[in-house]
Symmetry: none
Subunit: 193 residues, 4 copies
DNA sequence: GGGTAAGCGAGACGGTACGTCCTGTCTTTGC
DNA sequence: GCAAAGACAGGACGTACCGTCTCGCTTACCC
């Protein structure tokens, strides 16, 4: 066991993560310092280092601790509508203020720190992918999605254009954009017969 | 005129960018410091600050200075083959050692520094997109690509899945993956009629 | 009663003091930490703080616990010989390895911590002085020492040059040096008549 | 050359030493921290570490920088009177507030740090000793001091009792005490003939 | 062809944060 | 029922870079 009094320890952990998010909102991830988090949380630096080995992982944990139960898929029988609804929900949360910039920073940090990349994948991307695949498989069985599609690849083609916009061109992610991506992906690029 | 002796200045600029790349290869972008670059290049820190306002932009310039003339599109008349060839070339360069990790770091930095994001877009992404669009427009006119497709969106659906793999799941980008993406995008997700 | 099981407590106290001395020998007093003593002694820090209020006093206790019964004065009837023998014994113990450096450190600590200074005086210097004075008084009565001498002052003039060497010039304290000091003090600085 | 602008650098050095002394007066040497000195002096910590390798040597330099030209010997022809005058001057300065406690702390630190001990000897004790010996040699030639006395030893017997009082018994050092020491040393401990 | 200005290396500087160590207090758990 | 184990807030350590700032040297340009 790590801690003598789990409740106390858990409370402190939460305090630190809240301070982290608050400060990140105020100054941005780049200027976030463990020193400042400790001060804000009223905590010794060691208490942070005891829990997290790096600023990146602290930040990852803090963001994931929000953990709004957003991510359960609807199943109305219409795969395009369900995908649209799900994607819009996630996009609203992760690609717009207040969390958008922080999620962006998190992905940025994952490019510098393999541990953050691994955590991000295991704890956010992979579960999200799994749920999407479950829904897509049902759609395949219902004949709404081409049966020879690798569903991991489908996840990538769905998510990719959104991340491209979020991370590369950094234009705003609108519901309209989601619609157009879905439409294009279902239609395919080949000319209509 | 910027410099009393343009040749000297240009040479120094190049030296600095080479030192930047060399050091970045050795220690990674995250641990790169302007102090170390200056020392490695045998140059005063001021000489760097006079040329670049931040580590990120120095790094952007350094990477782009490689500027291998890779990016001109072939036009064999077969859009899928041409896209494949082009994308594979870029992927081989930017998503594999030795430059892959550094390009990844550059995109990561763009998430923290708007100036880097802007530079990356204007100087690398946008030109690349423009060339792609030219080639796609030709394909549209030849009836190889659906005529009602927004070509900017096509660029995003082509690039997105690759960036998703590079930045998010961080799995290796293979030619096979490029093939599968192209195939899926041209076929579309809807079931075969 | 202080402790439920006095023997146990006394044993623990001894263990701690031994660990203190062992560590002090290894790393020196300056780098000694209560944390390390606790770890070495296999004891909680609290157990140390319960017994000693400061590192200095712990160290003082530890050193005095050696308490070799060195310090009883001989009385052969020859005051100079007796002083010489006594001083040499003390010097051999306190001004040479292994205890010399630690005694030096203890006196050093007394300069920073009044409690250590007080303890050192009461528990080591004063008793030593008292015994010396007893012997000197006998010598005075026998006519071997000038009768109008303040014996506390004599103690200071005997000890002072030795401490000066130990603490200030930090040269080695030899029996020969002891001889010369005694000779000089008994002869006085005035020229021979 | 160490510094581009010697005057600036010297001024900063002085500022730091003054801040050191001021803080040492306020909180004592034991609680003095380089961090606090830097803050008080309005200086980066590095600027201190660039000049001094340890708190002890900074403190040594700071104290010696007072360097009041106190220490030149009078020569009235009467060695006892001259010694008395000289010793009283030094005692007034070094064994009483405001510098007494700090000089005491310096000697204390010398017990923990050999570099401080060496510096103290070379830069303060040795010069002082040399001047004393010059005066004593003159006295020897005039027949006021026994001619077979080792003058280094005389210095130790003069200084020792004073340091014993300052460092060990930590009683106040008065002019009267100086008188009694001088008298005892010149008279010798042997009984009057 | 000599004076002046600019670029430059070198590195000092005030700061900020790092990650570590230790202090002295407090809490829990296990023997 | 005490003590080991160690969490904790706090403070200082010594280091690394940041971005700014002189310094003196070396060109090269213009008169």
């Amino acid at each position: 066991m790590t801690t003598s009094h789990p409740d106390r320890a858990a409370a402190r952990t939460k305090t630190i993560m809240q301070a982290t998010l608050a400060l990140a909102q105020e100054v941005g991830y780049a200027k976030l310092s463990i020193e400042a988090v400790a001060a804000r949380a009223g905590v010794g630096k060691h208490t942070i280092y005891r829990r997290w080995p790096s600023k990146g992982l602290l930040f990852l944990d803090s963001l994931l601790s929000l953990n709004e139960p957003v991510f359960d898929y609807p199943d109305t029988g219409d795969i395009v509508a369900d995908l649209r609804r799900q994607i819009c929900t996630v996009v609203d949360l992760l690609a717009n203020p207040p969390w958008g910039p922080l999620y962006q920073a998190l992905v940025g940090e994952a490019q510098h720190d393999p541990a953050v990349a691994a955590g991000l994948n295991e704890r956010f991307i992979r579960p999200q992918t799994d749920k999407t695949i479950v829904r897509l498989r049902a759609a395949q069985e219902q004949g709404q999605v081409s049966s020879d599609m690798d569903l991991d690849l489908v996840m990538a083609t769905l998510s990719g254009p959104l991340y491209f916009r979020l991370l590369i061109t950094q234009e705003p992610l609108t519901h309209n954009y989601v619609d157009r991506v879905l439409e294009a992906l279902f239609a395919g690029m080949s000319p209509r017969l």
